[in-house]
Amino acid sequence: MLLYFRLAWRNIWRHRRRTVIIVTAMGLGLAFMMFYDGLMDGFNQAIYGNAIRVLGGNIQVHAAGYREKVDSNPMLPLANADQVVQAAKANPEVIAATRRIATGGLTSNHEGAFPISILGIDPEAEAPVSLIAPHIAAGRYLANDDRDAVLIGKGLADEMQVKVGDRITITGSDIHKQNRQRGMTVAGIYDIGLPSNEKKTVYISLPEAQELYGLPGQSTEVDITLKKVGQEAAVVAALSPKLPGYEVESWEKNYPELTTAVGNKNAVMTIFGVIIIVIAAIGILNLLLMAVYERTREIGLLGAIGLKPRQIAFLFLLEGAMIGVVGAAVGIGFGLAINGGLGTVGMDFSGYSNLTEYMALISGKIYPTLALNQAWGRAIMVIAISTLAALFPAWEASQREPAEALHAV
């Protein structure tokens, strides 16, 4: 076996120039895919980070039946929110678990009407993990005993042309799906740099929401903040059995389209990637066909010594695979260099923030990741395609009768 490796390795470097060119091509193809993966990862991380903060936590706990009705702002009170909070806090990964009431509605004044999400929050409990508490641009954050006071985003304040102290109408649907209209005073304006989110979300105190929307002492959601992103699955798995009758879900469930969109794009990219590598592999095919031709006599000699046809074929397959391995290594090198460089500098996509709901979650530059995780899969694809490209030359090499091959000049 070692003999084949030794022969194949030395053979691929017999015409260094050719091999270098092919390897560069494979490397470029792979590096391009890594660049794409890195960029997508960068996007996702930028989006995820903000998505978690906008949602209020890494994990959301709702009453059973919530997911089924998620499209229509269901008002399903949790049976025992305190029990949920206690259970969550007992988990060592959890930093905070806070209660909320979430409903949908409209806010209006003479400037017009704007669809909004109304979130009743426990201001003191949320303060340490809150996205908005550190970003109050004017006025103040909420307090537990606030009544008829609302905290709105800068984007919405601009649209409605209101400032702290002005009154606006907040209409929200209550537990019985009746719309409850109430004039409120703008207590504060927050600015998180995500205009489209600021436009859609207003905060009131939990007691006020309980009163307004017919949920005395209750809440519809518990948000759990974890120490690290990525622990969601483990914590969900640990909590779910302790909380029967509740839906414990990672934040990702709230963005189902995000996952499918990312999945679709990746599938398309994989197809493109395969085509690109196939093009490069045609180079390998050409190179090995040439090598079979050049080495006809040598192949005859190997046959005379006693190599069987399939052993000769194996030798050429191995050469294809090795070119693939070297190409993959070069590609990973290129890819890491590109992604490393861009990851440090960052890429500015802020001009496209209003393009999609998800882009709106990007607050500034995108920093591509190294994309090493996906790179292994891509590298295996490169090696596989290279080996496949060697199939035909290998077959051709093995078809020669030694006597015939020895005759060739």
Binding site: R6, N11, R14, L301, L302, I305, G306, K308, E401, L406
Partner: protein, 229 residues
């Protein structure tokens, strides 16, 4: 006991529309330990006959026997196995694998036969020593002279201790002195190990080493000398 026997063998080649009859019915048997020369002008069928004996090729009609066994209809894999185990080749062009060193070239057939490392090393060293190239073991073919390269091929052919070594114009690309050295080497190994040698040549200086001379012309044996051994 005959090492190889060729019975009524013919071999036709078709190149384009032209059919050539390289062998037109050849009968030959070679006894164990012979040192036989196949002679004749180029195109007389020497190489074709050697390739039939060496199982590199198959006769159009007729039969080939190795150690008394009919091998005419073996498939390619079976022929490869037989070659690997019992036939050594020496070619006119020095036919070494250019990417392997002298030592590795000699070692290769042993590797193919699955010989264990220590034994393999000992055998390859022994063979290189036998052809006087121990100090050149780590050189690649392009770093060796023609004579040295041919000696490496002799060492490689002998490494598997074959019952038969076939050499096609082994000295054609060598100068007189080197040619003589290679022939003396082959002769000495024939005498010391009893290995059977069959070589094709048209060089009279080489022919005189042979203890049996078989002459071919136009695909037929015209003179079948008797072995002295």
């Amino acid at each position: 006991m005959e090492v190889t026997k060729v019975i009524n063998a013919t071999r036709d080649f078709k190149v384009g529309e032209v059919e050539t009859h390289a062998l037109r019915g050849v009968n030959l048997s070679v006894e164990n330990g012979e040192f036989t020369a196949l002679v004749g002008p180029s195109g007389s069928g020497k190489t074709t006959l050697l390739q039939l004996i060496g199982l590199l090729d198959q006769p159009t009609t007729g039969n080939v026997l190795i150690n008394g066994k009919d091998v005419t209809n073996l498939n390619r894999n079976q022929r490869a196995d037989l070659r690997r185990g019992s036939i050594g080749f020496i070619f006119q062009f020095f036919a070494l694998i250019p990417t392997l060193t002298a030592y590795e070239n000699v070692e290769m057939p042993l590797l193919l036969n699955g010989m264990k490392a220590p034994e393999r090393k000992a055998r390859a060293d022994e063979m290189l020593a036998a052809v006087g190239l121990t100090d050149r073991a780590d050189h690649r073919p392009d770093q060796l002279s023609g004579g040295q390269q041919q000696r490496v091929s002799v060492a490689r052919a002998l490494a598997i201790r074959p019952s038969l070594i076939l050499a096609d114009e082994p000295t054609a690309n060598l100068d007189t002195e080197n040619g003589k050295q290679v022939m003396e080497l082959m002769q000495r190994l024939n005498q010391e190990t009893g290995t059977t040698f069959v070589f094709a040549t048209h060089d009279p200086r080489v022919i005189k080493f042979a203890n049996r001379v078989v002459t071919l012309r136009d695909g037929l044996i015209v003179e079948n000398g008797n072995g002295k051994a």
